[in-house]
Amino acid sequence: MIELTNDPIDPTSLLQQVASHQAGAVVLFLGTTREFTGSRQTESLDYECYPEMAEKKLNELECEARDRWSIVDCAIVHRLGQLGLGEASVAIAVSSAHRKNAFQAGQWLIDTLKEVVPIWKKENWADGTTDWVHPGLTNEE
């Protein structure tokens, strides 16, 4: 299950979606808004995406994870729009019979999401300036 949403992410609902009597392990990853990047203070973040392609890529990631690891279920949600400090921008939940697969698939999913899914964040700094974040081009995360 993949989802792009403007609403706050509910981790409990994600955990329920991947729960199963076949699963002995569930790994949930949350990406959350940090206040400081080095010495620069963030006030909020804006996320935008290329919706058609972002959905396509997220579906491809889910399929590839199911091919590569023996997993029971998998759910990926990415938030869009403006996020305050501490809010979750992304949540990935993976259930599997044995924990190693859930950890490996979860880590691969977030690593790969950050490389290929067309979603971008803009830092709204506490000093009033803003920056699109483009790893390798502008500010590194």
């Binding site: 971008w120 699109w132 974040v133």
Partner: protein, 81 residues
Amino acid sequence: MKVEVKLFAVAKQIANAESVAVELADRATVGQLRDALVAQFPGLAPVMSHIAVAVNAQYSADDVILTADSEVACIPPVSGG
């Protein structure tokens, strides 16, 4: 032919537009689209080498051939997650 190009994040900011129409020769390639975009928006020159081009929602190399109905987008380095 005229190709509509979606712009995101810093590319959108530089061109000050969410999408732009680019005039290209028939059977132009992604590489030729890049040149045309930089000609139309010189501000894109320093970042174009970091921008990926997606054709029909798929990352596409510079030799991919475009058609008038291709869905084309400029994808600056992504920062989701």
